[in-house]
């Protein structure tokens, strides 16, 4: 057998590594700085640690320049992300989230692209109360962000309830198994007494004192749906269902969306399938994959620290060999699978066990009330009578799941009363749209996304109508920066913000999430976006082959080159 020698990259550790090292397992000085009344913010070092606790310090960027002149510090506020493995929440938990959003946050709830709840605009003095309420509801924010394994995604699968239960259980167990063990979270937020003299080695058996070099993401897809974008994950698992039973998972490694504008050494990459494992082996596989990244990931340059670069540096075969070495057994050969789409299917569907599921279209994943659409109130009223569960989808939508047939009428009446929409009156393009939060709260955003995409779609829809493409499903995604929270370059049409009002435009990703897009136009504004789309849609309407997807068409027509691997994304 070929012998591989693995070596971690050279170079001094980055500053974040220092912060982690000095933090005493994520404590830092958070306890003290959260009590400082002179500022609503916290120092940068503590904010780095704060991420591991599921929160970032942000500020309202709309007000930044104005407040600076007013001799006021930025309008600091915290974003809080709640881990919900597989996006499943009980109606009781929904009601708690709803109340906290109105009491301490900005009155809205964000359903994220990783099936988590997110609050924005929580003030420092309300952080502890909010986190305690979340924990009282049996949810946590621990490790919702930071250099650890994040919320584990899984397909909400309203069609096959039994398989969903099983896949969801594995998602939850993966999530629990990879949670940090430090008591810092409980001491800082939940008033747990500090235990003196705990030996270090016992604190983080999987992660160690430095945790991972960078964030780590796991998602489980259930074919034919690739809604979780399994190839965008550091560790993607594809559920293999034979004769209605879950027999195991294909294992894919090394996906990730983030890159840096103007730096060709950074690129999005898709995970590659390396084999198959049985359900009961999946925890072991995940743990060993995580430890490989822990030991070999780049801790010197953060923009090269994701697992995808580790794999591309060491070679896929070498990493697979190391994995099997650590497992002590070999992965089986990957099983056949087939994906059809990565979007959601809307409206009512019947599950196998006599229950019903309603998938609701939530534009931008933002649950709020407006003058003419009481989405937040409607969902609260449903949560009060609902006996099943809620499932957050990877496309920022919501499934009101497991409604027993005798309850269906009552839930449906509320859906009608509040005009909650399955999006059928929108274009298929809008139903397949995805945007990250971006401005005004995200510190990384260079351009608008969630606030702007709906308005841009109003105009694109006219072009869609002109070309008779209203019911044609095309995925469209927009992010405010290249980091890729909305899995940008897996959208058949993708926009990545460069500066206010200016975007890079990408085309040619696959509808089922199996191929990345390619840069088509750089630094364009709304006028150019619309004129480009007018030309493209007109050609697509006239020249496409039967059943041909837009992302495939632009490649066949020679409009963009096909991206066959992340490593040739920039070519």
């Amino acid at each position: 057998m070929e012998k591989f020698v693995l070596t971690p990259p050279d170079g001094p550790p980055s500053d974040v590594e220092r912060i982690k090292r000095e933090s005493n397992y994520l404590r830092g000085t958070l306890k003290e700085t959260m009590e400082d009344r002179i500022t609503a913010g916290i120092p940068e070092d503590d904010n780095r640690l704060m991420k591991f606790h599921g929160s970032y310090l942000q500020d309202d960027r709309d007000l930044r320049a104005e407040r600076q002149k007013q001799k006021l510090e930025p309008a600091y506020q915290f974003m809080i992300r709640v881990r919900t493995p597989g996006g499943v929440a009980t109606p009781e938990q929904w009601l708690v989230m709803d109340e906290l959003a109105r009491k301490y946050a900005n009155g809205t709830l964000k359903l994220t692209t990783r099936q988590a709840f997110q609050f924005h605009g929580v003030l420092k003095w309300n952080m502890k109360k909010t986190l305690q309420a979340i924990n009282d509801a049996l949810l946590t924010t621990l490790a919702a962000c930071g250099d650890v394994n994040r919320n584990v995604m899984c397909n909400p699968n309203p069609y096959q309830s039994e398989v969903h239960v099983e896949v969801y259980e594995w998602a939850k167990r993966l999530s629990d198994h990879l949670l940090p063990q430090t008591r810092a979270y409980y001491e800082i937020w939940l008033d747990e007494e500090k235990v003196a003299g705990t030996p270090e080695v016992e604190q983080e058996p999987i992660y160690g004192a430095l945790y991972l070099p960078r964030k780590f993401k796991i998602g489980i897809a259930v074919p034919p749906s690739n809604d979780v974008d399994v190839f965008s994950q550091d560790l993607g698992l594809i559920a293999i269902v034979e004769q209605g039973k879950l027999v195991g998972f294909n294992v894919a490694i090394g996906g990730g969306m983030g890159m840096t504008h103007g730096d060709r050494t950074t690129y999005p990459q898709l995970a590659k399938v390396i084999g198959f494992c049985k359900p009961e082996q999946v925890i072991d596989v995940a743990e060993k994959v995580v430890t490989i990244q822990r030991d070999y990931g780049n801790r010197s340059v953060r923009k090269h620290a994701r697992f995808k670069y580790t794999i591309d540096r060491l070679g896929l075969e070498a990493v697979k060999a190391e994995l099997e070495n650590r497992l002590g057994w070999k992965l089986e050969e990957a099983r056949p699978y087939h994906f059809e789409h990565n979007g959601d299917r809307y409206g009512w569907v019947e599950g196998v066990n006599g229950t019903w599921h309603f998938t609701l279209f939530v534009e931008g994943g933002r649950v709020k009330d407006t003058d003419d659409y009481l989405l937040m109130t409607g969902l609260r009223e449903i949560a009060k009578v609902h006996v099943g569960d809620f499932r957050l989808t990877a496309n920022q939508n919501l499934v009101i799941a497991n409604v027993p047939s005798e309850k269906k009428e009552e839930v449906d009446a509320l859906i009608k009363q509040y005009k909650l929409t399955d999006g059928k009156h929108y274009s298929a393009l809008r139903r397949n749209s995805l945007a990250c939060v971006a401005l005004p709260t995200c510190g990384l955003a260079m351009a608008e996304a969630e606030r702007y995409l709906p308005k841009l779609l109003d105009q694109i829809e006219e072009i869609v109508e002109e070309n008779g493409l209203r019911d044609e499903e095309i995925t469209i995604r927009m992010t405010g920066c290249p980091n890729g929270c909305a899995r940008h370059v897996l959208g058949e049409i993708a926009f990545i913000g460069k500066s206010i009002g200016k975007y890079n435009m990408y085309l040619g990703a696959a509808f089922d999430g199996s191929r990345l897009g390619k840069l088509y136009r750089e630094n364009i504004g709304e006028k150019e976006i619309l004129s480009e789309l007018r030309t493209l849609f007109s050609r697509y309407a006239k020249e496409r082959l039967p059943g041909e997807r837009f992302g495939d068409f632009v490649i066949r027509a020679g409009i963009v080159k096909e991206t066959t691997d992340g490593m040739n994304f920039h070519d």
Partner: protein, 593 residues
Amino acid sequence: MLPFQVTNSPFNEQQVDLLNRLWPTLTPAQKLWLSGYLAATEFASTAVQQEAHVSKEITILYGSQTGNAQKLAEKTGEVLKSHGFHVHVLSMLDFKPNDLKKIDTLLVVVSTYGEGEPPDNALSFYEFLHSKRAPKLNHLRFSVLALGDTSYEHFCKTGKDFDQRLKELGGERLYERVDCDVDYEEAAAKWLDGVLSELNKQGGGSVTVLPQQSQVKPVSNYSRKHPFQAEVLENINLNGRGSNKETRHIELSLEGSGLVFEPGDALGVFPKNDPELVDLIIQEMKWNPDTPVSVEGKEEPLREVLLSRLEITVLTEQLLQSLVSFSRHPDFHVLLSSEQEVKRKEYMKGRDVLDVLRDFGPWDMSPDQFVSSLRKLQPRFYSIASSLLAYPDEVHITVGAVRYEAHGRLRKGVCSTFCAERLHVGDQLPVFVHQNPNFKLPKDTNTPIIMVGPGTGVAPFRSFLQEREAIGAKGKSWLFFGDQHFVTDFLYQTEWQAWLKNGVLTKMDVAFSRDTDQKVYVQHRMLERSKELFRWLEDGAVVYVCGDKQHMARDVHQTLIHVIEKEGNMTSEQAEAYIAEMQKQKRYQRDVY
């Protein structure tokens, strides 16, 4: 060096005091510069070559969005330090623009953000430099390292702008600007090499001292009778969006006035009346606004006189008495009878001249008769919020806009809403200095000070800290501040934060009354800290209280007694005697209104 005295120098008392406060703080280099500067003024406008040690002080300012410019600035600082230079690396946000006058070598490392905009932390410095307040920089050598991205239209625009503007202001390029693309390392290294070799080259040379407009100031001719027309340099609302309040921070130029003041003094300001209110009065009486009327022997149009010469918002006994003979309304005559004093006082509360005119018509009164009944418009006083040592030739005030509903009409404070609504940058405001000898920093700069100033009461303490910073005072300081909401009403927040960081302010406690279920005020914070507060008092701290007289000052006073009682194990009589003794020693000073 002997202290300056009136008897051993040509200076007057105020000047002597200022000099004595300034002199001990000067570094040898600054003294040398000053002597050269003063000597140079003797030779009118000719430049003087003067042999001197070239300053090895270098200031590096960065404006950074993503951290690259900051990293480069810090690295540049390290390298220059290793070559024996004294280097200060600062974010443009943390740099006091006025300090530009004090430095002679400036390196700028700045990126460009979005569509050619400065990074957030460079914005205010950028605007300052491009405003007409920017000083002449004939003494400055500079060099700019610009970071950018050629895929954007306005490549390195901010760096280019800084470079050009510094040159325009009289600065001399130490080394040509270098523009860097995304891969900046190589270009940045080249710039650093260039800068370093220029610095070394000039190391043994001489400094050119250029005289600027100078003249030792004459004692001011301006006073309450002859107010100085001060140009408005800045007028900003300190309250963030969503606040219930509006507090204006106003910066005025005193250039050429010769006016001087000390921390603790007040500024007298002559406002103008609200034109809306003036017009309502004229309409009510169906007069012609252009009718000439005579005030102090001068004829002016009625509207003008009501706008800027006479008091129309405050009712006095005297005013009512002189109006009553023109009114045909029987109730007015009754109200002014001697037995109606209580009712009359009640009526005067919250009402103005327009109310009287509306309530007690019909009137047999000419504009001249009306005008001669009114009192001259009085100046309003504001605690000064700046120090001359920090902002020479400027005075800053903090003005809370007063607005309230009463008797069916929105009432507005004359001066505060004039400042808030009708006073613009570039306008002139008539002002004079009003000394307040009873609100003064301790002569001994080592004495600890405790400052209690909620709301606009915090204004003089900004002046105190500017002064203590400028003279390098070693004494500890502790500020108690309060207002309604943390997010919107934390007046001068970033300045206190900076002083806490550099140690000029030792401690700060804040109380925001409407952020919590239970209202919290400054006195609650004082009580929470009673042990430490008492220790400071025992250490000789001076306590200053500024702001609302009716509630705050009384509550704070009670709290002080309580703290002394509790922590000093005293009876309330003993505690009151303790406070009285403090007052006698001028260790308890109040400026309350």
